[in-house]
């Protein structure tokens, strides 16, 4: 039989024809990349990957804005293809804690604009799901827009669209190698020949790590088992037309879902022990009894779930003649942080479109296609960017540990500050031993152990009494301590030392370094030696790509300092834009420098007593950096502040960090120095000052004018995003970032004081959602105590009509609404608005 032969070259090769591969092929073709070859190792239309056995339902509401946006867009695409059936869905609560979580989901539904969601009593759940046992539930969260979709058919339609535009599709074609030249993907080898390609999209789910490895890149995911059984026939279901007539139930407290599928009830579980596989241990289509991703069912893992399913649905699951007709250990992809793996890998032109669920695949594919072709996606994808991982986060140990830990959280009640417990103590600053002696409570940032507060500061609680804004409710007290606020007050009164070694640090060196950085940064970089420049880094659309500081250390030497979480992404952005001629080099010196922040009214007194340098305001002005002695260590001191106080960031060589710490510690004793944690640095100190945080306030979906961070004038030099930025300055912003204060934290329902933690919806006094003219809703980007102003502080983008100081609005939190006031429109600080402290 004649088989069309593989072309010898194509602009794009997509590997994998599951829902991810078909979706990306479709969207790339739609945007003009039509010279495309889609390769699939299995048969079509069901190649045997996870798409073929997924349970295919879409619950749109997630606490993550990014995931909700992508999921809603996917639901829209499935509907446009005519392959979605709206079933509605109920998440039921068996515990009081879960009812609170459902209240929180109501907030997220409002924040991200999912219409029609409501909380149900058990009786109301019964009305919608007439076979549930109301005795075991306290209530439910109903999402009318939940749908079931047909991802295999959707994939076929999308694949055919791409084929009509010129794509060719090869099933039963296995990728055997990927050639890379000069760190750019060049060629894909298969068992049917080789294809030269400019770009390769790895969209093959659990097999993605293997394909990436062929190119020397990493896609850090782990295949894991998700168990599912199908019970039937159930007469009640047999009597209904079509695939589904009753809402899908998520029995989240038992980590299960139950959905009608024709005459059967499918019961899926995320409750069993994490069962991980290695990509190389997945059987081939020929070897597998069912399919490569449908492994033999291990019934003993599922038995506890059977009893729980019976509790909820005692009647229909025990109906005469109904049996377990199908049971699999289905494979799916788990990642170290639960988010997808999107974007270009370490190898140029090699893109990852992996770790994607049915519910979000078409939306993600659209965004990734925009990213690849237009340079930036409409939806900000930074939290799913595959470049977010440091090398240590790509190790098998890390991926397996976090994937296992994350698995049972699939339906968990995950606190915004929830910490990972596995594979900790990987990155330790030289201060670590000192911090442990001071009973630091460590949280993890990108592998670093960072003190969030110090239990040794507990005596400060007495000193500050009610000013520490103690929290009554367990939820907000979790992963929090009033000691954070006490440390904050002590910093404002005296002086604090804060370990900020998690910073990522890159040196930019070379004859064209200035020219290069001018092109990268919004701010003027042609500054005097020793200047420290705080700048936004924009993408081509004028959205925020990064937010960081750059020190000019010499004519041709600059030092970039950015957040620990942002390090790998920012490094990729900078490296991708390095001139090809080698006139600029970027050196990642993160592991060479530790950093200690020294801030507070007595910071100068402390520093003066351990250095011979002139650190007076005149001798060492604000936004300057220079080398000074601190005790026995020569450090790079940078006079800036993210907490709104006089002070310095002190950079010491890693191995001399402990000596620097000791010098500052000793010098600080007469001035009452307080070791303070990231709770102060990241939240209380910054939020009182209205300082913006990348990933919270700053992301590509908002621009500089909306964040009120525009400079008096646009610099002459050209820079990425300049054209868009100039346009943004000329138009009225669709929203303006404001600081709001909560007028009364008292819960109308419980009488307890409650404190928002972020991502809650801001509503009009009538309780209506606030949406700007670009369709973005008003939600809390950051929330935190303001101990010095005595208020709980929120930040939110508001449309101009609402962004008026004194404007009274509402915030919805855990089912209650609280009055809030717009305290500041724009970037002025709530605390010390004249910045006298910083410049003292």
């Amino acid at each position: 039989m004649s088989t069309p032969s593989l072309p010898s070259a194509a602009q794009v090769v997509v590997v994998g024809a599951g829902i991810a591969g078909n979706s990306i092929a479709y969207h790339l073709s739609r945007l003009g990349w039509t010279d495309l070859v889609l390769l699939e190792q299995g048969p079509l239309p069901n190649p045997g990957g996870s798409t073929g056995h997924a349970s295919n339902f879409i619950f749109p509401v997630d606490h993550s804005k990014e995931m909700t946006t992508l999921t809603k867009d996917s639901a829209r695409q499935y509907e446009e293809l005519g392959l979605a059936t709206i079933s509605g869905g109920v998440e039921v609560a068996r515990t009081k804690e879960r009812m609170e979580e459902l209240n929180r989901r109501m907030s997220s539904a409002l924040s991200w604009g999912e219409e029609g969601c409501e909380l149900l009593t058990p009786e109301q759940v019964l009305e919608k799901v007439p076979f549930v046992d109301t005795d075991v539930i306290l209530g439910g969260f109903y999402t009318p827009g939940v749908s079931v979709v047909d991802p295999l058919r959707a994939g076929t339609l999308m694949r055919e669209y791409a084929q009509e535009r010129g794509a060719s599709v090869f099933a039963s074609t296995e990728v055997t190698g990927v050639d890379v030249e000069n760190n750019h993907v060049r060629r894909v080898h298969t068992d049917r020949g080789s294809i030269d390609a400019e770009a390769v999209f790895v969209a093959c789910g659990i097999w993605s790590p293997r394909i990436a490895r062929m190119a020397g890149a990493t896609i850090p995911l782990s295949p894991a088992v998700h168990q599912m059984i199908s019970v039937g026939p159930i007469p009640l279901f047999e009597a209904t037309p079509g695939e589904i007539s009753f809402p899908i139930v998520r029995d989240v407290d038992t980590n299960m879902y139950e959905r009608q599928n024709g005459s059967d009830m499918e019961v899926g579980s995320y409750a069993h022990r994490p069962i991980l596989l290695d990509a190389d241990d997945i059987p081939s289509s020929e070897e597998a009894a069912l399919s490569p991703t449908e492994l033999p069912f291990t019934s003993e893992d599922f038995d506890p779930q059977l009893e729980q399913a019976l509790e909820l649905f005692p009647e229909i699951l025990t109906v005469e003649g109904a049996g377990i007709r199908h049971a699999i250990n289905g494979l799916l992809s788990l990642t170290p942080d639960g988010m997808p793996l999107l974007g270009e890998t370490e190898v140029k032109g090699l893109w990852s479109v992996a770790a994607i669920w049915i519910k979000e695949a078409p939306g993600i594919a659209k965004a990734v296609a925009e990213w690849a072709i237009e340079g930036a996606p409409e939806t900000d994808l930074h939290s799913a960017d595959v470049a977010r991982f440091y090398p240590h986060q790509r190790t098998k140990r890390h991926v397996d540990a976090r994937s296992s830990e994350g698995y049972n959280r699939t339906y968990g009640i995950v606190h915004p500050m929830e910490q990972w417990l596995s594979n900790r103590e990987v990155r330790l600053s030289p201060f670590y031993a000192r911090e442990r002696e001071l009973d630091a409570v460590f949280y993890e940032t990108a592998g670093w152990e960072r003190p969030w507060w110090y239990e040794s500061n507990a005596p400060l609680l007495e000193e500050y009494g009610e000013r520490v804004m103690p929290r009554e409710a367990e939820w907000e007290s979790r992963w929090w301590s009033p000691i954070i606020n006490a440390e904050h007050l002590a910093m404002r009164d005296r002086v604090a030392m804060i370990d900020i070694s998690a910073f990522a640090v890159f040196d930019v060196v070379g004859a064209a370094a200035l020219e290069y950085l001018q092109r990268m940064a919004l701010a003027e970089m042609d500054v005097a030696l020793g200047r420290v420049v705080y700048t936004s880094i924009l993408d081509q659309n004028g959205g925020f790509k990064a937010d960081l500081t750059i020190m000019r250390l010499d004519d041709n030497v600059f030092r970039i300092v950015t957040g620990g979480l942002d390090g790998p992404r920012d490094r990729k952005w900078f490296e991708d834009h390095l001139p090809a001629d080698g006139s600029v080099a970027l050196d990642d010196v993160t592991s060479a420098w530790c950093t200690l922040g020294l801030w507070g009214p007595r910071a100068r007194d402390v520093l003066e007593s351990t250095t011979s340098a002139d650190v007076s305001h005149e001798g060492f002005p604000f936004a300057r950096c220079r080398w000074i002695d601190v005790g026995p260590v020569r450090v790079l001191a940078s006079r800036i502040s993210y907490v709104g106080e006089l002070g310095w960031e002190l950079y010491a060589p890693m191995e001399q960090g402990a000596a620097m710490w000791d010098a500052v510690w000793e010098a600080g004793q007469p001035f009452g120095i307080v070791p303070s944690g990231i709770g102060v640095y990241g939240t209380t100190g910054r939020i009182e000052k209205g300082y913006r945080l990348y990933g919270a306030e700053l992301e590509t979906e908002y621009n500089v004018v909306e964040a009120d961070m525009q400079r008096p004038k646009v610099k002459d030099a050209d820079f990425i995003g300049k054209e868009a930025h100039v346009r943004h300055r000329d138009e009225e912003p669709a929203a303006i970032l404001c600081t709001l204060t909560v007028d009364d934290n008292t819960s109308p329902s419980s009488g307890k004081k409650r404190y928002m933690l972020g991502r809650e919806p801001i509503l009009t006094p009538d309780g209506e959602r606030i949406v700007d003219r670009k369709g973005r809703s008003a939600y809390v980007t950051s929330a935190g105590s303001g101990p010095s102003v005595g208020k709980h502080i929120l930040m939110a983008y508001l449309p101009p009509a609402q962004a008026a100081e004194g404007n009274q609005l509402l915030v919805q939190y855990m089912g209650d609404r609280y009055p809030v006031t717009v305290a500041v429109k724009g970037s002025r600080s709530l605390f010390d608005p004249e910045n006298t402290r910083v410049r003292s």
Partner: protein
């Protein structure tokens, strides 16, 4: 009426079978385990007979400790009790298996009225164990059966033969090996599964015995290359279908 049914734990293989490096066994590292379709029907038939005529059902197997999974699955379908003749893992010959099973059956406090087997095991395909057990116990035996009726202590069995049926009558107790198609086995219910989980399995340590047969090694037969290609959909595909037919010489030029 006391009905016994014997099953064998076998790998649930895909299209391609991989052997262990010493060619002594199927590589089961990625495989699940099951029983043969004939045995599934035997289990179902035992249940139906007990339901129709009253009495008890027992499932027996000879195999490693993990074979309790297959016993539990049979119990989840409704079999009341289970006996595991636990080995240390190696494959026993049909001769040795049958001897051990017969001994275990004799040791039962109450003798079986009917013993059902699958026509042959899914892996070794010896077709022997049922016949050997019958011989050892001195019971009448019919094989390849696709229909059973019991009336007044006599069993009528039907076997497909060419275009018709062979009908046998046997006195009970008897041994019958059945073929897939005799019935449509039920699925285990959730309650059945939970009940099976709680029901203990009787464990017996059978004495290994010498066998006249010895497995030298296994050989995987050469694979047939298969290729599937979707030629198109609807009328548009007709041209290509014709082209393929021509290529294969199925239609003239």
């Amino acid at each position: 009426m006391k009905v016994g049914v014997c099953v064998k734990r076998v790998p649930e293989t895909g299209a391609r079978i991989t052997l262990t490096s010493d060619d002594q066994a199927i590589d089961t590292s990625l495989l699940g385990f099951t029983i043969s379709p004939h045995e599934e029907c035997a289990v179902e038939e035992a249940l139906r007979i007990a339901e129709r005529h009253g009495g008890s059902t027992t499932v027996l197997t000879l195999g490693p400790a993990a074979a309790s999974e297959q016993l539990k699955n049979a119990m989840a379908m409704g079999i009341a009790s289970a006996v595991l003749l636990e080995t240390d893992g190696g494959d026993w010959s049909a001769e040795a298996t049958a001897a051990a099973l017969a001994e275990a059956m004799r040791a039962q406090p109450e003798p079986f009225d009917l013993l059902l087997f699958g026509n042959e095991a899914a892996d070794s395909g010896d077709y022997q164990v049922g016949v050997r057990v019958a011989h050892t116990l001195g019971l009448p035996c019919v094989t390849g059966i696709k229909g059973i009726e019991i009336d007044d202590g006599r069993l009528t069995a039907r076997r497909e033969a060419g275009g018709g049926w062979e009908i046998f009558e046997l006195p009970l107790p008897a041994v019958v090996t059945v073929k897939e198609g005799i019935n449509l086995p039920r699925y285990a219910s959730i309650q059945g599964r939970l009940r099976a989980k709680k029901t203990p399995i009787e464990r017996i340590q059978p004495q290994p015995r010498a066998s006249a047969l010895e497995t030298i090694r296994l050989v995987v037969p050469p694979e047939h290359e298969t290729h599937v290609e979707v030629l198109g959909a609807g009328a548009d595909a007709a041209q290509r279908v014709v082209a393929v037919f021509r290529e294969l010489g199925l239609v003239g030029l």
